[in-house]
């Protein structure tokens, strides 16, 4: 028996070995290297002259106004994208959950933006949002609304990115919500209906509570994904105008790969990574115990 369980345990290790190996090579080791580099003056062009410089990068980071601005920007993005994207996804899932004609069309339409590359949709939106000849301003003018600057306005640019990101990402979460909705037993609804509950009451007291595990999972993944925002500002605004759309990941990328300051970029990654882990833990505590997610 003992021997048998040993064999089973070895087998289990054997099966996770390839995944573990890849994770170690491409995640754990780079993460540890990043922590090490964050205490050095690593310049990509002269890796041989890399020396330990203590907390210098971290002290510089505290005084870096662009990093501060990027944190404020991503804060704004996360605060708006969470309710917008999750709410939209739930709404779309409710629409396509009802059996009606054209459902497949709606499902494909809502999901289509997910399968198109972010860089491609960003370029498409650049045309749509062009203040001089964009489609959106053309539509707005029919309603008597004056042309908007969108991505060229420091006040509107981040909101434009929030809108685009909602449109792009909601389809994926819709699918997960849809799976969650279809897992709710119909007899619960029938019982509630017999008790005289109307549609709104059924939604509040049955749908939402029974979707909690799905919602927690979606909230967590949306939350983490939101912090990784880079493609849209990189393609559409290059972080501008006037740093109004620069995000931490874009700033880290730019510092590391354009400016070649890998040491400093690593310090930013360490701080930002730690912040995301802390936020995620807090968020999971707020939305419910980990054990509830099944």
């Amino acid at each position: 028996m003992h021997r048998n369980s040993l064999t089973r345990s070895s087998q289990a290790w054997l099966y996770i070995f390839p995944a573990l190996l890849i994770l170690t090579l491409f995640l754990f080791i780079p993460a540890l290297m990043s922590i090490y580099y964050s205490f050095t003056n690593f310049n990509m062009l002269s890796p041989q002259t890399r020396v330990f410089n203590g907390l210098t990068n971290y002290i510089t980071l505290l005084k870096d106004p662009i990093f501060g601005r990027s944190l404020r920007n991503i804060g704004q993005f996360v605060i708006f994208i969470m309710p917008l994207q999750v709410g939209t996804a739930l709404g779309l899932a409710l629409i396509v959950n009802k059996k009606r004609a054209g459902n497949t069309f709606f499902k494909i339409s809502f999901f289509a933006p997910v399968v198109v590359s972010l860089a491609v949709t960003s370029v498409l939106w650049l045309y749509i949002l062009n203040p001089e000849q964009g489609l959106l301003n053309g539509v707005l003018s029919h309603f008597g609304i004056s042309a908007q600057p969108f991505l060229t306005s420091p006040k509107q640019a981040m909101f434009a990115i929030i809108g685009i990101s909602t449109w792009q990402g909601a389809g994926y979460q819709m699918l997960i919500f849809l799976a969650g909705l279809q897992n709710i037993p119909t007899d619960v609804y029938e019982a509630a209906e017999l008790d005289g509950a109307n549609a709104w009451e059924r939604f509040i007291h049955i749908t939402l509570p029974m979707l909690k595990p799905t919602s927690v999972m979606i909230l967590t993944t949306t939350f983490i994904d939101a912090f990784k925002l880079i493609i849209q500002p990189m393609v559409m605004t290059q972080g501008g105008p006037m740093n109004s759309t620069i995000t931490p990941v874009y700033y880290i990328y730019r510092t590391g790969f354009t400016d070649r300051q890998l040491g400093y970029a690593s310090a930013m990654s360490v701080i930002y990574g730690a912040a995301i882990i802390i936020f995620t833990i807090v968020q999971r505590r707020i939305t419910g115990d980990d054990n509830n997610v099944k």
């Binding site: 390839p18 001089e132 060229t152 420091p154 501008g240 006037m242 400016d259």
Partner: protein, 430 residues
């Protein structure tokens, strides 16, 4: 039991296969003292790649020392990755090729980090090479890289729209009859009034390197500068009154509605704007895809105070890696590729400006009048970008300054704006 032994074998084999796939090496590397390797930043199928293929075949066939060059074509991706990523990876693994290409603004950083070595002695007829090319490749008095072509920018104008706005040919500037910023503003005003929209697309929506590349000549025309000559100070230079006059011009152009920060896509090409500030690459685009547009090219407007004509230049270059042990062979290849005939072939295939005076002469009779104009402008007014170690950061601060200046409501005081931006830039010049 047998089952799990089989599993162990399968997993081990798969893991080894996966790992070996990750470390698979290209077979293009050559070994031996006479074999040299070169990396370039374009595809084999590009016009540039085709010219290179012919040049390399010629080198391998004609050189008397028996050197054999092989080229790896590593196209740049849209965001400038691809080729640069490969170079960066090679730096960390100490596996750079013998000869490589690099963009002009990278000269100082590469030379300072001892990635490339001086190539002065390998360049034939240096006096024949355009001064802008020499300046671009020179760091601390030594030539580290040689541009194999040139680029330039001019003011494209729509002849029909100019006519409709009542602008006569006699009013048009030329390389000998320069136009000042005031005259440029006046013509822009007439075009704006006639067509009820911006007169010129100055590509202000492009916040990349294009910003410094195309707009810095306004500063140089006013005798202003971005940094001091040594490239160590921006305070006192980038915020000088002369530099400010150029930024004031850019701000005024936006404020008065003569140009726009959000131009219509291909606005000039489709007859929506009467003027476009763009490079030699637009000639090819207009001549092949927008044949209906009857256009010409005008020189850069000059500062009314100095009347000095300055236009942008810049190109990719050949360089020799500092780590190569085959300096003679690598030198021979660079000498061959930067010679008159090979540069001529490259410039003609790519439809770009030449880097040698002798190549200009060869090209003149074979290119369009618009191309001829840019070649001539380049010769009389081409100005290299500053050679700075932290060029990417300086270029970005420059682009940020342009953006801020164009938001005239938020930043009405150009002098105050430049004072702050010069201080920001200074941190990259220590």
């Amino acid at each position: 039991m047998k089952h799990w032994k089989l599993s162990l074998l399968a997993v081990t084999v798969l893991s080894i296969m996966g790992l070996s796939a990750c470390t698979a090496k290209s077979d293009s590397g050559a070994s031996g003292d006479k074999n040299i390797e070169m990396w370039v930043q374009y595809s084999k199928e590009d016009p540039e790649g085709k010219a290179m293929k012919t040049n390399i075949a010629e080198f391998n066939k004609t050189n008397k020392q028996g050197y054999k060059a092989t080229v790896q074509y590593i196209p740049r991706s849209g965001s400038g990755g691809g080729y640069e990523d490969k170079i960066n990876a090679a730096l960390n693994s100490n596996s750079l090729p013998d000869v490589l290409t690099l963009d002009g603004p990278n000269t100082a950083a590469y030379a300072d980090s001892k990635i490339i070595q001086p190539i002065d002695k390998y360049i034939a007829n240096k006096d024949d090479v355009l001064p802008s090319i020499i300046n671009q490749g020179t760091y601390k008095g030594k030539l580290y890289a040689i541009g194999y072509s040139e680029s330039g920018v001019g003011i494209y104008y729509n002849k029909q729209m100019f006519k409709e706005a009542g602008i006569t040919d006699q009013e048009l500037p030329s390389l000998t009859k320069k136009w000042t910023w005031d005259e440029f503003m006046d013509i822009s005003k007439r075009l704006k009034n006639k067509f009820n929209g911006p007169a010129i697309d100055m590509q202000l929506s492009d916040h990349s390197e294009m910003s410094l590349y195309s707009l810095a000549p306004f500063i140089w025309s006013a005798d202003g500068s971005i940094t001091n000559k040594a490239g160590t100070k921006s305070v006192g230079y980038f915020d000088s009154a002369k530099t400010a006059s150029a930024f004031q011009l850019i701000q005024n152009l936006v404020k008065d509605g003569y140009t726009t920060i959000s131009p219509k896509e291909k606005g000039f090409q489709t007859g929506k704007y009467a003027m476009l500030m763009s490079g030699s690459w637009t000639i090819q685009e207009l001549d092949s895809q927008y044949k209906d547009i009857d256009y010409g090219i005008l020189p850069y407007p000059v500062s009314p105070k100095t009347k000095k004509l300055v236009s942008p230049t810049g190109s990719w270059q050949y360089a020799m890696s500092a780590s190569t042990t085959k300096t003679k062979a690598a030198g021979a290849l660079i000498k061959f590729l930067s010679a008159k005939n090979q540069m001529y072939r490259t410039s003609m295939k790519m439809t770009v400006l030449p880097a040698r005076k002798s190549v200009s002469k060869m090209m003149m009779s074979k290119v369009t009048p618009n191309m001829q104009f840019l070649i001539k402008q380049n010769q009389v007014s081409g100005h290299a970008r500053p050679v700075l170690i932290k060029y990417p950061q300086v270029s970005r601060t420059f682009a940020e300054t342009v953006t801020k200046a164009t938001y005239y409501k938020e930043n009405p005081d150009v002098a105050a704006l430049l004072k702050k931006q010069a201080t920001d830039m200074q941190q990259y010049l220590k």
